[in-house]
């Protein structure tokens, strides 16, 4: 397979096109600008539509429209822009409209910084907008994984009729790495969405896309359905990586860019004979709770250390899952301070808090 050196954002954009994305709307914000820039030139080449929208709010609503109309559609942004999209994401989740949303997370709150952060975890996994819903959320750790996840996300979105959020960070978006790009899919081969999509009611009853139901019983049934789907994903499609966890006494739990730093720390400490491993969730919603729970039950595991670029967000999920079985420690830095290997080793060895 031929490898290409690509910037994360551009690789994601190309993977989206190859995965069948034919509609993109977005608004400029750093550090994700290469996604709309790339797609503005690329989508017309494959008969797709690129729109630079007037706002993030409009972008997500254009995706609501295009995806309701049956297209594979995507939007991308970074933290402050993702906050603006939450209204639309709530509607999209309620309407069970398949689409893909990319968040190249930067430091926050507020305008924060354009440098990488992981402080949008709560927003990503707890819902984000109003009402009862959850998204399927992936956290790529390499440019290749970002490509593979983006490509697959359109399939997963269609399979479960759920919006998929790819929770990247500024590093994943901005760094260049060699990638193998997947095959171009032909949208003509995708399964029909005729049973629900707004395509014109030829030879069938009309379809309509609404998120309004004044009947409490029906509304509860709709919400139950969203959570039934989420449970199916939890049973069948959570993803994670365990690295050197077989005999680990300390298990680092980290995702995205921090998981790569953690892996380097594990390698360095293993070279000194220290029993350290890494648990890396790839889906953080649903969380790989069974796998992490099994680690908590292992006799050799003495403690967990959650490392994040936040003041402590994923650590809450880890503590819920570990549920007191083992101590769960936390180390976090905020936007722009990507934890480095030496720093993390110092934390693990107890010298830094």
């Amino acid at each position: 397979m031929e490898k290409t050196l690509m910037k994360g954002n551009e690789a994601i954009a190309e993977a989206a096109v190859r995965g069948g994305c034919r509609f993109f709307a977005g608004y400029p914000i750093t550090p994700q600008n290469e996604i709309p820039e790339y797609l503005s030139a690329r989508l017309p080449e494959v008969g797709g539509t690129f729109i630079q929208s007037e706002s993030e709010v409009s972008a997500i609503n254009m995706v609501y429209g295009a995806a309701s109309a049956g297209a594979r559609a995507m939007t991308s942004s970074s933290s402050p822009g993702i906050s603006l999209k939450q209204e639309g994401i709530s509607y999209i989740a309620c309407g069970q409209i398949p689409c893909v949303i990319i968040n190249m997370v930067r430091g926050g709150p507020g305008l924060g910084t354009i440098y990488p952060g992981q402080a949008d975890y709560f927003q990503a996994v707890k819902g984000g907008g109003h009402g009862d819903y959850k998204l399927l959320v992936y956290t790529p750790a390499t440019v290749q994984e970002a490509v593979d996840i983006t490509y697959k996300s359109f399939e997963m979105a269609d399979k479960y009729r759920i919006p998929v959020l790819i929770l990247g960070d500024g590093t994943i978006g901005q760094m260049m790495e060699p990638v193998v790009l997947p095959e171009m899919k032909d949208p003509a081969t995708f399964p029909s969405k005729e049973s629900w999509a707004l395509t014109g009611c030829k030879d069938r009853p009309k379809n309509y896309m609404t998120t309004l139901d004044m009947d409490p019983d029906r509304l509860e049934a709709i919400t139950d359905r969203l959570f039934d789907v989420y449970e199916q994903i939890r049973q069948n499609d959570v993803e994670y990586e365990e690295y050197m966890c077989d005999d680990a006494e300390t298990v680092i739990v980290a995702y995205g860019i921090v998981s790569r730093v953690a892996k380097a720390a594990v390698n360095a400490l293993r070279a000194q004979g220290k029993k350290v491993g890494l648990f890396r969730p790839i889906t953080v919603s649903p969380y790989p709770d069974k796998a992490l729970g099994a680690l908590a039950d292992k006799a050799c595991v003495k403690k967990f250390l959650v490392a994040e670029l936040s003041k402590g967000q994923m650590v809450e999920d880890v503590r819920l899952i570990v549920n007191g079985r083992k101590p769960v420690e936390f180390y976090g830095r905020t936007g722009g301070h990507v934890i480095n290997t030496e720093e993390l080793i110092e934390v693990i060895e107890g010298g830094k808090r």
Binding site: G65, L198, C201, K206
Partner: protein, 248 residues
């Protein structure tokens, strides 16, 4: 004796009682849309619509075509997505004054500026009807509303927005007209305007908006008859009828 049909429900309308208040003219506008579609020879399967948040939030229950219900003010953005995916369909976007001229002004202006090839039917009754009569961006100077209880004071609340006048300054829009529903003659004129807007869309010309002055007897606290007279005497004075843009 041979039966001859002289009047029937257009194919685009569902046979369903409307939820609108007595004397509200939303129902007339629904019918005009359906009649125009029918007279242009377009089958319901070739029509897509977007409903707003507001009194017409259930509009998708009344039209026999695929429709989306948009978040408040977002209808032009949703319609942009739908129409770009299905450029061959006739697309109408149905919005009230709060939806279009307040919370959704950005979406409206930019859809017009992009010259999106769809038709916005803008229902202007100068009030937030569904939520119980609050001040709208089109509430007249001095007009009572539940949030301007001594009448709209321009020193406090600012001035109403003239949407047709404003959008007509943009290069993008192809056809913009303000019409009314206060008597039969004006209803027929409104129909002509909607039909022309649809024709422009079918010809691929781009963005059109028909602003329709509509009565809200309930929140204006008037009888239906007096509400129509109010449109004629007051509303059309403040929001003059006519063609604001026609790029031909």
């Amino acid at each position: 004796m041979e039966e001859k049909i002289v009047f029937k429900k257009p194919a685009l309308l569902e046979d369903k009682p409307l939820h609108y208040c007595p004397g509200c003219t939303h129902g007339i506008v629904h019918r005009l849309i359906a009649e125009c579609v029918e007279e242009l020879g377009i089958a319901p399967e070739n029509v897509l619509g977007v409903a707003p948040v507001g009194c017409a939030v259930f509009a998708y229950e009344y039209f026999r075509c695929d429709m989306a219900e948009a978040a408040h003010g977002r209808a032009p953005a949703v319609a942009t997505g739908m129409k770009r995916v299905h450029p061959d369909k006739l697309m109408f976007v149905y919005q009230g004054d709060g939806d279009l001229a307040s919370i959704g002004m950005a979406e409206t202006v930019h859809a017009a500026a992009r010259n999106e090839n769809f038709t916005v039917i803008f229902i202007n009754n100068g009030i937030y009807g569904m939520t119980g009569g609050q001040m709208a961006p089109t509430t007249l100077e001095g007009q009572y509303s539940t949030t301007s209880q001594k009448g709209r004071d321009v020193l406090v609340n600012g001035y109403p927005i003239h949407v047709c006048e404003m959008l007509s300054q943009l290069k993008g829009p192809q056809y913009i007209e303000r019409v009314s529903t206060h008597d039969a003659q004006h209803v027929l004129k409104a129909k002509k305007a909607i039909k022309k807007a649809f024709q422009y869309q079918l010809e691929g010309k781009g963005f059109s908006m028909i602003e329709v002055l509509v009565a809200c007897p309930t929140n204006w606290k008037m009888s239906p008859e007096k509400a129509l007279q109010h449109i004629k005497d007051e509303v059309t004075e403040y929001f003059p009828l006519g063609v604001y843009k026609d790029r031909g």
